[in-house]
Each structure stands twice: as C-alpha cells, then as structure tokens.
Symmetry: C2
Subunit: 329 residues, 2 copies
C-alpha cells in the first residue's frame, strides 16, 4: 500500500554551489545576470575555477518546492536522479532530512551528480549556471506509478522538460496522475525554458494542467506578448488555477473568472533570491493541502518565499509553520 | 625561487557539514555540547543520517586561519591532505579561491576527504564531530622545505597533533622553520587535544614556539590548574608571545612581562561560533605582518572573529580589510 502524499514532484536533483560576485564577473563572461542557463562539464570546470569560495547547499527547483511543502507540514515525495557520489549523497541526505520521501536509485555510472553554479550579486539577484550531469539520466522506468497515483498533486518543473528521457518520464507521470483523478501542477521555471518549449508548454496547459505557476516574464513569453493582462487572460482560459508571481509585488491568482491579488511580504534584507519561486509554489500547495482559500494559499507562498530570500540557499531555514501561524493563524 | 609568504599553515583539510539542532539532539547521543571529538567512518555515517539538512562549507582550523590572513591582505599557504574526490575538489577550490597557496597533492586512494559534522545550537554554540579521513595521510614527505623556509610564520594546529604521520610532518616543519630563523606559532585547538598531548604541547612551548594561541579552558588544562592567572603566568614564561582568547570578553596578550587586554567586538547576533578562534589567529598574524602593535593585532583578531560568528561557516564572508580599516584605520 503506497502512502498518500500531498505533492509528488519530479525535477532536477542538484546541489547548489553558491558564491558572491560583482555584476562585472558575469558581464566579463557574457553571462546574462539573473538568468538560468545550461552548461557542459568543461564550462562547469572553467567557471568553477574562476568563482570565489562557495557554499554547497542542496537545491533543484522542484526539490526545493517539496522541501517547502514538508517544512509547512505537508507530505511530499521527490523523483530525480543523482549519481552514486559524494554530492549525490549530500542531495539524498538533505532532502530526506527535510522530511521528503526520496527513493529514486542513484545512477551507478555515467555523469556525476548535477550542480548549479550560482553567482549572487550584491543586490541579491542570482545567476544560475547548471550542469545537469546525472539529472538527465532519469527515465520513465524510474517512475513508480503507484506513488504518482497516491499523490494529490503531481508537480513538474519546466527546467526538466529540456532533456528527453526525463521529459518522457514526466509525460508518463501526467498520464498516470490524470488516469487516477489527481491534479497536475506545472511551473514554467524560466523564460529560457518557455522559449525552448513554448509549443509543448502551451499544449500541456491546454490539455493537462490544473495548476500553473509562472512569473510575469515567463507568462508574457509563453504567449509572446508584452501585454501581461492579455497573457494572463489567455493562461486563465486553460489552467484551472493560474498563479502569476511578481517578486516583491506579490502574486496574482486567476481561477474560474475570479482574480485574487496578494501583496508581497516585506523582507529586511534580500540576500539571495535563489528559490523564491520554488518556495512560493511549495507554500501555495502546502496551504491548498490544508484547505486554505486561494488568496491565503498565495499569502503562504509569499511568506515562504520571503524567508528563503533572506539567506543564502534555496531551502527554508526558519520555522515556516511558525511564520505562517504568526501572520495568518 | 620560492615566494616569501607571511604565514604557512599545516592542518586538517576538512569540509564542514553544518546543521542546526536543539541541545537535546546532542544530549540524546551523549555528545558534549561545545566540544570537538574525533569519530570513525561508521559513526560519521550514523550521525550524518540523523542530522538535519546541511550546508557544506570548507573548514579546517588552520585552513580557516590562513583564509583569514589572505582576506586581510597577507600572503599565506596551506599544507594538508584531501582525497581525489568531490569534497576534496571543493576544499581545494575554496582555499585557492580565498587567495591561499595550496599545492599538497590529493591522496590517490585510501580514505575520502575529511569532514567535520557540526551541530549548531540556537545559542550559536558549535559541537564538532570530525571524521579525519584523508587528513591523516599527510606525512613529512609532503612538506616542501623551501616553502616552510620562505614563510615568516609557520602556524600549526593542535588538532593535527593527534594522528602520527602529520605530527611527524609538523615536527619536521618546526625544525626547518627554526633552522631558517622563522617564527613558529601554535594553537592549542581544544581541551581534548591538550588532554591527549599535554606533555608534547608543554615541551613544544618550552623549546620551540614563538607565538602560542589558546582559550582560557585550554590554557588552564595545559597547566592543570583552575587558576587562569597562574596558568597564564606559566605560559608567558615560555612563549615569546602568549595570546589567550576569552570569547566575548576579548583577549589577553602576554609578551616579555607586558600584559595587554583588549575587549571583544560587539556582535549583533551570534549565529555560529565555528571558526572564532581560527579567525582570531588569522587576524592577529595578518596584523603582525603589517607591523601593527600587539594590542592592535589582538583587536584585528577580535574584529575578524566577530565577523565569522555572525554567519554560518568558518570562513570570512564580509570584507575584513574594510571592517578593520573602519575600526582601526
């Protein structure tokens, strides 16, 4: 008997390597500040050698999200591939220690565990350079259909739509979830992902997604318009619930013709914005699992996001449950 | 021609794995809060499995110290052994990126890179559980005598006196330094080290050490007395310069019959005391290299220590040079 969970996520299993630098470090290398891009093993070596001292903290977008769900008391599981190496052991330890179920077998050989080389500039902005490594070796064979069927929400990250084998795994998972009457949630992840897979993402939205997360730029890019209102209207035509995150301005939730706007949470000092969107989605879904109303789901998302950007690393450090209780009861 | 450096340190090459927990986590396992203890590979596995999510940040006592020297503009080098694995690459990257020369070859096989499992309690106190791994494989053959001869100060950590091969390497280094008219500095490291090697440490102090660092408990333990004044007087009879650190109360410097007391630096919030003593020693020696007077050397040590305890991890994050300039000019 597979235990019921609130959220099962499929995503990249990454360890973040976080350093700080001035924007010139990025400009000199032609790296767009604030972006996410994929890099190969050689560039990963070269860039790492040029980077300052680092902190290694487990990351991965959807993995961060389910760590957030768990921190808020929801039950969650993660599917993603690490290698059988030290960073893989770090990832597996950290996600299990966060209270997330994680049983995907590590790859026995092949690429090392994936990592994300993150440069944080003094404004708190993060620029991510991702070497996927073993992440790409996830395949449909790694999916346990019973676990997918036992999760209220299947959560998928757009980042993982890029490599073909994991994409097949996500397609299979969507079919299992829908066949079992479960909800499917999807995050657009990054403008880079939307640009690379616009047709797929639109098709997903039109036929298969109950809950869609994206920030303003991603939503505009999805519908190739500068008009955010027009893009949101189009998104709302398809997703049961569309959630548009707006950084410090909070979020907009669109559902069945209703529109809820919630303000952002004040943050004393933005240290590192890595994981803000991930933690928003985690907070939102954990609040849904508690049966909160949609505006409060967005508020919980904003509270969780505010916590994670107040320190280095994309996993929560403070007691999120207590933070939410203090603000929303 | 070997370049002259201010400080060459020999120490454990460790990556810290930092987690937070309530004191009960330690009490339940019979681990003395605030201590350092050595653990084997099996206990390292068991304890890690029980620990919460971690942050991996390069550490190692003497390595932290020379990272502090470099952050303050001094030239420094480190000798210590990692394995040829991912954590070893992390350690090597981080210390070089900090501006410290590091050329010790990684061990080709044998134990993995050493790590220190650190539990930080809500009061900021750190409890360290060290698996030495490859650190123990350092031997006298790894020492480059020319590099030792080219360093103004040879800095040794008491922690590394425990395993026999590195101890031999340190003894050889002391002989080289003294034959070349260089200074030898030594840190008592921990009461556990003093208790295990009291006779050796006293002998070192009586014959070979120019600059001795220790905290109040270590100095008392060295002379097996509860009377700090008596212990300090005994220490001052031997070391050219004896420096006693006193946490938030600052430090006492004894030199040729003179006694200088400097106050501690105020810290808004003590997050993680790991590395406080290491960074004090780094600040002290960097200030010596600049020709500052001894009381100011201790002040610089306190400023550097205050920075490192205000965040997780034992390596400096803020601009130490700017902090010192703002306070001392």
């Amino acid at each position: 008997m597979t235990a019921r969970t609130h959220v099962l996520a499929i995503g990249n299993a990454l360890v973040d390597v976080i350093t700080t630098a001035e924007p010139a470090f990025l400009a000199e290398r032609g790296i767009a500040k604030g972006s996410m891009r994929l890099i190969g093993p050689d560039e990963a070596e070269t860039l790492y050698a040029a980077m300052g001292p680092g902190r290694e903290i487990s990351g991965g977008s959807a993995a961060n999200t389910v760590a957030g769900v768990a921190a808020l008391g929801g039950s969650s599981a993660f599917v993603g591939r690490v290698a059988n190496d030290q960073l893989g052991k770090v990832f597996a330890h950290d996600i299990r220690a966060a209270g997330v179920g994680f049983t995907t077998a590590p790859s026995a050989n092949g690429n090392p565990t994936g990592r994300c080389l993150i440069v944080v500039t003094p404004d708190g902005d993060r620029t991510m350079n991702t070497y996927l490594g073993a992440c790409q070796e996830l395949s449909a064979a790694d999916l346990d259909a019973a676990s997918v069927a036992a999760a209220d929400i299947l959560y998928l990250e757009g980042y993982l739509w890029d490599p073909p084998a994991p994409r097949d795994a996500m397609r299979k998972a969507i079919a299992v979830a829908r066949a079992n009457g479960r909800k499917v949630a999807f995050t657009l992840s990054d403008v880079f992902c939307v640009e690379g897979h616009r047709a797929d993402f639109r098709m997903l939205l039109e036929g298969h997604v109950d809950l869609m997360f994206g920030n303003e730029n991603e939503v505009r890019s999805l519908y190739q318009t500068d008009d955010l209102e027009a893009a949101m209207a189009e998104m709302a035509r398809h997703a049961c619930i569309a959630v548009i995150t707006r950084s410090e301005k909070g979020a907009i939730v669109l559902e069945g013709g209703r529109r809820h706007e919630v303000p952002g949470e004040a943050v004393a000092r933005v240290v590192d914005t890595t994981g803000a969107g991930d933690m928003f989605a985690g907070g939102f879904m954990a609040a849904m699992a508690e049966g909160r109303a949609l505006p409060d789901c967005a508020r919980v998302g904003c509270i969780a996001a505010a916590e994670v950007i107040s320190h280095y690393g994309a996993r929560p450090e403070a007691d999120l449950k207590a933070l939410v209780k203090a603000k929303l009861g």
